[in-house]
Amino acid sequence: MKILLIEDDLDLGNGVRIALADQGLDVIWVRRKVDALHQLDVCVPELVLLDLGLPDGDGMSLIACLRQQFKGIPVIILTARGTLQDRLCGLDAGADDYLVKPFVLAELLARVRALARRSYGFQNEVIEIRGLSLHVPTRRVTVSARNVDLTVSEYALLETLMMRADRVLTRRFLEERIFGAKENMSNSLDVHMGNLRRKIGDGYVRTVRGVGYVIDTVPIQKGAG
């Protein structure tokens, strides 16, 4: 995947470039707005990582420019300013995602992949976690190569959790996502979750009591260690 990195800080730019290249991503790194505009024309990147504090112009104006001329290109903002207002500003201007410095490499990679998936669809995408796999286009779920039949709600629940693996999803988020619920559907969520767990087996969905559910890519051992 071709990524255009626009970052004026030498060490950070270089670090990100090498770290992403190690992950097999093709990174073009520029340090000025002018060069960024030029590169956008020349090599048409699939994703843009943009630092807002550029020496020759405000990053926001660059986003506006991107949105006008290169509508489809997803943009992740990298910035040192992380208040809610700053984020909203950036997202309103047309950015797709927002990373506040200092960020962890894993986080950056996760965001890049997630955004790429969101932007370029899940064609032939199989999400697989510890033997539990989900084939998005056909909605087929298998556990250790064994087919599992799920109702619409259960599938939606599983897909939501698997697409956001390692992130705890709050009960409210899940309810709104699955039932579009405005009223209290807590019991209903628990029932569906119970059924889902019975069908795919224990050890996949972890409950965070009172908060929500998560599917861990790496299982967490309980108990004192």
Binding site: G53, T83, V104, R167, L169, V211, G212, G225
Partner: protein, 462 residues
């Protein structure tokens, strides 16, 4: 009693104004009195009037044939005059009567300055005699050649004796002053009321509130004071705002090199095979995380300090805590700590969402940080009669009782605490809590760790 004495000793403006008023009154009274007395001394009413003269002349004319009786009557008369004048029997201090007939003295008061003679009839004259100055006036009878002269001492120093004899002029003032004190005090108190309003407004402020005074007095002097205070407050506000902006800018500037360092080290990790080197890199990453966290907390601190432009709005606290716990879960999972949240249905409070977020984050992060591996952090939100109570408990070492106040100070850390930390977390929690009119208290949790309790006053519509 002692308090009362101290109260009396402390100077007050009211008292000052009262004393000034009374002094002024006394001074005016004295000036007035001096003027009156001085006038009297220069031209005593006894000498200017003619009744006394007429009476004596009539006596002299009518009793011409009985000189002894006349002398006796004049003697009595002189005594009465002196008594009326108030100078006693001393001729140097009192009035004297001299009666002449054919320029011959037929009677003079005891010790009267007999050398005093007027050159003109009916005129008050100042005359030197016996080394003193006298005021005298002589009238001549129309029917005979009898003359009556009244003489009073006229020296400047006589004024004081005169004043002394006329002491009753001072009395009314001395009697009046106590009666004047209370109305004066009352009127000043009433006049000072607008002042008290302003004082009340200032004294009711929270320590962080630097907004201009809302009380705009109509009175010029007070308005000047309020304007000056507002100007001063504005300056203080500006300087603290500048300071905050400076710290925030510095913190923001720090973030880029921190990010660069982190990314470089993480990229390096995949090239390093030896355990020792990996450990060293992990150490760099840990320090980097700590620095990053400190920078974040500095920023939060700057944002959590009360600013005028914050809008309090209803916040769904249950959902917010759920979301924050979901976001913080990976941090807990790293140390195999279980987060648990107990709450009633959605509870709303009035507040500033972002700052409440930093309060929740700090409380939960602290609990996770100080919990033993595999421990449990319990967050509990419940609606009470008058407030909404948030409790975060852990099974960590807790905070010793004597440090429970001090841990809220910035950069204060428990000296026995081995965990790394910035010492800003609880300061932020406290600042945010205060901003929401609530307070934080620390106690011992059921599992022997720390329990932090925040009481939010209830949302009016709840």
């Amino acid at each position: 009693m002692r308090n009362f004495c101290r109260h009396l000793r402390t100077p007050t403006l009211v008292r000052r104004i009262m004393i000034a008023q009374m002094l002024l009154l006394t001074l005016l009274w004295c000036l007035f009195l001096t003027y009156i007395l001085w006038e009297n001394l220069r031209s005593p009413p006894m000498l200017t009037g003619s009744n006394t003269y007429e009476t004596i002349l009539t006596l002299v004319d009518r009793m011409d044939d009985r000189p002894q009786d006349l002398t006796a009557v004049l003697e009595k008369f002189s005594t009465a005059l002196r008594e009326g004048y108030g100078g006693g029997e001393d001729p140097k201090l009192s009035i004297s009567l001299i009666v002449r007939k054919n320029k011959e003295i037929i009677y003079s008061s005891d010790g009267a300055p007999v050398g005093v003679t007027n050159t003109l009839y009916g005129k008050i004259q100042s005359i030197q005699s016996e080394g003193r100055t006298w005021t005298s006036r002589t009238l001549k009878s129309g029917n005979s050649d009898a003359e009556v002269t009244l003489v009073t001492p006229a020296g400047g120093w006589n004024f004081f004796i005169y004043l002394n004899s006329r002491g009753y002029y001072i009395l009314p003032l001395l009697v009046c002053i106590p009666f004047l004190l209370f109305p004066a005090w009352l009127s000043i108190r009433i006049a000072m009321r607008p002042w008290n309003k302003v004082v009340n407004e200032i004294s009711l402020r929270t320590s962080e509130d630097l907004s201009p005074l809302k009380e705009v007095p109509k009175h010029m002097e007070l308005r000047q004071m309020v304007d000056a205070t507002n100007l001063f407050l504005a300056r203080v506000r500006e300087s603290s705002e500048r300071e905050r902006v400076f710290i925030a800018d510095a913190a923001h500037e720090l973030r880029t090199p921190l990010a660069a360092m982190r990314i470089n080290v993480e990229a390096l990790q995949s090239y390093v095979s030896s355990n020792n080197q990996q450990e060293l890199l992990a150490g760099i990453i840990r320090s980097n995380s700590r620095a990053a966290r400190l920078v974040n907390q500095l920023l939060l601190m700057m944002h959590s300090e009360v600013r005028i432009d914050t809008v309090m709005e209803p916040v769904p606290l249950t959902t917010l805590i759920q979301e924050r716990m979901a976001a913080l879960e990976p941090l807990a999972a790293e140390r195999r700590i279980e987060l648990e949240f107990y709450s009633d249905d959605e509870i709303w409070i009035t507040g500033v969402r972002e700052r409440l977020m930093s309060l929740i984050d700090n409380l939960i992060e602290n609990a996770v940080k100080y919990s033993p591996e595999g421990g449990r952090v319990e967050v509990d939100l419940r609606s009470l009669d008058k407030s909404t109570q948030l409790r975060v408990s852990d099974a960590g070492p807790g905070i010793p009782f004597e440090l429970r106040e001090r841990v809220f100070d910035r950069f204060f850390r428990d000296p026995n605490q081995m965990q790394s930390g910035s010492g800003l977390g609880l300061a932020i929690v406290k600042a945010v809590a205060q901003q929401h009119n609530s307070n934080v208290c620390l106690s011992t949790s059921a599992e022997g760790g720390l329990m932090a309790t925040v009481d939010f006053p209830n949302h009016p519509s709840a």
